[in-house]
Amino acid sequence: MDPTLTAITTIDFRMYAHWIVLLPMIGFLLELLIGQYTWRKGGMFANLSIFGSMVISYGCLYNVYVQHLGFWEYSWDWFYPGIVAGFTVDPLSLAMLCMVSFISFLIHIYAIGYMGHDCAKHVYFAETALFTGSMFGLVLANNLLQLFIFWEMVGLCSYLLIGFWWHKPEAAAAGKKAWMSCAVGDCLFLLGIAIMYTIMAKHGVTTEVISFNQIFQHLEVLSSSVVFGIPALTIICILFMCGVLGKSAGFPLHVWIPDAMEGPTTVSALIHAATMVTAGVYLIARAFPIFLAAPHALAVVGFFGAFTALYASTLGLVVNDLKRIFAYSTISQLGYMITILGCGAVIGVAAVALALFHLVAHAFFKALLFLTSGSVLHGTSNTRDIKEMGGLLKGMPWTGWTMLAGALALIAFPFTAGYYSKDRIIEEAYVYATGHGSLGYLPWLFLVLGVILTATYTFRAWYLAMTGEPRSYLAVHPHECDWWMRTPLVILAIFALGLGLFTKGGTLFWHFLEETFVTATNTVSGIYPGIDLHEIATLGGNHLLEHGHAAEISPAVIYLPFFLMVAGLAIATGAYYRNRVDMSKYIKKENPLYQLLWNKYYMDYLFKDILAEKIIMTVFTFWDVLDRYVIDGVVNLMSWITISTGQVSRKIQTGVVQNYATAVIFGVSLLVILVKLLGGV
């Protein structure tokens, strides 16, 4: 073997995992400070640093997956005993790292072309480098606090990038909306961490107090803790889940996602595929044993996820903005991932593996879909309404055909990535249902219904954009994107179609991921033994299946999603390609269902017009009055009393000696009488 290659294979990349986080941070600083004076006025440092992180990430994967060097965790003390900064390399973090670094790198390459003419390009690249670096930090975190810190940093970057074109009022408002929706969940997440810290301290843990592995080791004692009369772990998990709903756009905190399309399309791709919304799913996966040990927590997670999956896919049906259609599909697909994690109450760690596989597959095809829609925007002078497109396939074949690949993966067309990831999730949701009575079928039912809607809205978008006749002059002569942009599209398309095949239908991936939690993790000072999830599950009143599989599921159930997908595809083809149905009969103002969907179930109205503009405005106007006139009023009243008293008493100072003498005599007599009355001296 080549000696340099041998040398590389002897490197233990796991020891350098913190550089995965640090490199993009350095890239951020360099880009911000001197980026505009370098190659193409920005982008070099960001791309190089992400590439460096990618190399280390894949090095770690090689160490663990091929060389079997074992899982590795190390930490440094931070500001208080027991609060650490630590990094953990295990299959869960590796799966995320390799996906995030690869996709983020492709998006960065694409952005060299896409953002080519933007005058603040160095700021853009600085922010995306920070965005990616923060996501690495989140993924590698071995403890809750560090995860939260990078969780917020990811939120900051999304705020800045969604509002990147700050001069557009909608962009600035969208950034604020994203932060606010997340903040609602994040404050509860932080409260959950505070509770976790407290109960861990209460049980005598002094080192690595809120590190995941340490918590896992203590789940048995923690399950006896009670806060506010409810099992502490359940409260903590529900609070964590609130954070997840914000970040991963779960109902009802999903409202920021469609507005977030105001940012550059590359940012949308980053947010939806790699660096933001997946954080929530990752948190549940990372804290999965805690959820498993907490009574009822996973059931709540499952129902919220399934409801979100169906809810968002109905919204996708009526939107006309190409990017927003894909945005709703992201919310929906995240719902699938969260649902399967909820089903972990029955299938155990397999849930984490399935959720992560769908997460990775989704990352590929969703990044692809966003980058292709970015290419469409780029080629048609920012046309975003699919009603104004049409026939783009002729003018931009690279974009059109790669978008088709992404769309097929999204609807889980056989042998694409989505087919292996999503259909398996639906299958396992059925397994979950069989053990949970009639109500347990609800998540499965929602997911299955979601399939048909997904196929319909996805191909509605593709047919309307790519086929037929151009419906506006901007769509007549679209120009195809350059090679900076084309190359990532092709690579992503290959993975969107082939990821399932490369991993033997996902089994390679699943087997690797299923080692998480149950296998020991080495640290500098010792070893965290693997945990027995079956035992953990009984703490939360859950019973895992042996090997994570039910006895037999009827083939009808297994193939149902496929047939529903075909049905949805057929509807879309009939209505939007062959034009057999006149859709204007249904899509009109008088149709109450259409109205409901078009207004997004009035959620925006509820949050913005009612909650923000009516209730909170009223409260703070009232508050201002209270502050000005009541609290400060008392202060001013007191000073007024003092001043008036002074003015009155000033009049007594007449300068006439007789008056003074009278007053003295009167006062002395009064004193004498008082003393007598009180039985004094």
Partner: protein, 511 residues
């Protein structure tokens, strides 16, 4: 040979006198900058060579009890510990950079810069005094330079605000003084030693056999004096008015350092007295903190003047200090209690730096656009991109962004307080989105959106404004990533406080 604390104070006195004698902006600011940076250098040297005396738990102690007017027990006695020294450091950092920030002050520059130096001096005096007489004198003296800074260099309603500031906080101080006198008196009749020495008084106070009325009076009077200074809702109304009218550097020092006197009083004076106080005072303290935390975002959202908005943010952040202190003295595990306590101390330092950036930003906006009304601003990023970066950094640090120092403090307070005050912590946590809301709202209306052309052609931020804001920004980011130097210093002192037995059997739920 005088010690470093006396050296700092001497430098500032001499500096202030020389500054007063100069007759141009350039001369005045040169003298002021030199003397305030010498003070800063000495305090940094103190910070680097800090070593506690294990017996007294003090460092750089100078003088002794009763060595000045020994007949009534007054002495020149100064020294610092893990909370005093960071406060001295904060005062010198904020004031030194404050003099640079006021580079172009042209109205009576000699008096202006002399007052800034006096401000620095009196604040440091409060933070180092170990004698109640000195403490009270410096406490009152801080009012004078600030009164003149507001009254002479202030905005349109400067007279009302200056008088209100002076009288309001003066009344609180007088009540505090009554408490000090009562303590002095009862200590005298019980032990036979009449002294104002803080260490002696606080040491003997917990064991003094005094009636519960006087016990509560003394504690209540001191606490009142401190929470008005912090300020805590509902005793806060002097603050927004003072800020709105004060010149920028006045606001920076007022919010950055002067408010910390109240918090410092809690740590230095009130905590050692706790064993001899009613637990209801601790609940009251926690409640004052919580009410301030909940109150400030709503009040801030209603403001039209960005400086007033920032002033209200201070009230909320100071509320975290009361909450952390109250939680840390209730019965519970030591680990979280020390965390809460240290967090409250760290919040003092952190808020001082962050708020300096916020008020500095308001000052920049005012100087460049001649307005502070949020609705009249908009799209400032177009003309001032460098300024936008600093202002965004400051506002996000203030709303509690991780990797900035404020988050370390807030997490410590919330995480450490939950065991003793769970409901309070839960309520404080759910107000975080509102806090985020008004910060984002202000940033959006000021920096983003289309540029408001009515503002005319404004210039990019000046170098001295940029430099000072940037240094503060770097400081709070560095302390957010690596808080250990200051956090651990405070932690030692917090551990000393907590483990020396100041436990009250209040609060706490079985977890």
């Amino acid at each position: 040979m005088i010690g470093p604390i006396s050296a700092i104070m001497l430098t500032l006195v001499v500096g202030a006198i020389i500054t007063l004698l100069t007759n141009s902006t350039a001369q005045a600011r040169a003298v002021a900058i030199v003397s305030s940076f010498i003070a800063l250098a000495i305090s940094i040297w103190m910070f680097l060579t800090y070593e506690l005396n294990p017996v007294t738990h003090l460092a750089f102690e100078e003088g002794s009890a009763n060595n000045w007017i020994s007949s009534i027990g007054i002495g020149y006695h100064v020294g610092v510990d893990g909370i005093g020294l960071p406060m001295v450091l904060l005062a010198t950092i904020v004031c030194a950079l404050g003099t640079v920030y006021s580079w172009s002050e042209s109205k009576r520059p000699n008096q202006f810069f002399a007052l800034v130096l006096l401000m620095d001096l009196t604040l440091i005096g409060v933070f180092v005094s170990l004698d109640f007489f000195m403490f009270y004198v410096f406490w009152e003296l801080t009012l004078l330079p600030m009164f003149f800074l507001i009254g002479v260099w202030g905005g349109p309603r400067k007279d009302y605000s200056a008088i209100k500031f002076l009288i309001y906080t003066h009344i609180a101080s007088v009540i505090m003084m009554l408490g000090i006198f009562a303590m002095y008196y009862y200590n005298g009749i019980n032990t036979g030693v009449y002294t104002f020495d803080m260490m002696t008084l606080l040491h003997s106070y917990p064991t003094l056999p005094i009636s519960s009325f006087w016990k509560n009076f003394i504690f209540g009077a001191l606490m009142f004096g401190f929470i008005v200074k912090m300020p805590s809702v509902p005793f806060h109304t002097w603050l927004p008015d003072a800020h709105v009218e004060a010149p920028t550097v006045g606001s920076i020092i007022l919010a950055g350092v002067l408010l910390k006197m109240g918090g410092y009083g809690l740590f230095r004076v009130l905590l050692p007295m706790i064993p001899n106080a009613s637990p209801y005072f601790i609940y009251a303290l926690a409640l004052f903190g919580l009410v301030s935390i909940i109150y400030s975002p709503f009040a801030a959202l209603a403001q039209k003047d960005i400086k007033k908005l920032v002033a209200f943010s201070s009230i909320g952040h100071m509320g975290f200090i009361s909450l952390g202190v109250a939680a840390s003295v209730a019965a519970g595990l030591e680990g979280p209690r020390i965390l809460a306590h240290t967090g409250a101390m760290f919040q003092m330092f952190s808020h001082g730096i962050i708020t300096a950036v916020l008020f500095g930003s308001c000052g920049v906006i005012e100087h460049h656009t001649h307005t502070r009304i949020i609705d009249d601003l908009g799209g400032l990023t177009k003309k001032m991109p460098k300024f936008a970066i600093l202002m965004v950094a400051g506002f996000f640090a203030s709303l509690g962004l991780p990797l900035c120092s404020g988050f370390v403090a807030e997490f410590s307070i919330l995480g450490g307080s939950f065991q003793t005050l769970p409901i309070f912590v839960a309520l404080a946590a759910v107000t975080i989105p509102f806090t985020a809301g008004y910060h984002l709202w202000a940033v959006q209306r000021t920096l983003w959106g289309p540029y408001n052309e009515y503002l005319g052609d404004i210039k990019e931020i000046k170098w001295y404004e940029f430099a000072t804001l940037a240094i503060w920004t770097i400081l709070f980011i560095v302390l957010g990533i690596y808080p250990q130097p200051i956090f651990n210093m405070m932690q030692d002192t917090a551990t000393y406080f907590i483990t020396s037995g100041n436990i009250l059997p209040i609060g706490g739920i079985p977890i």
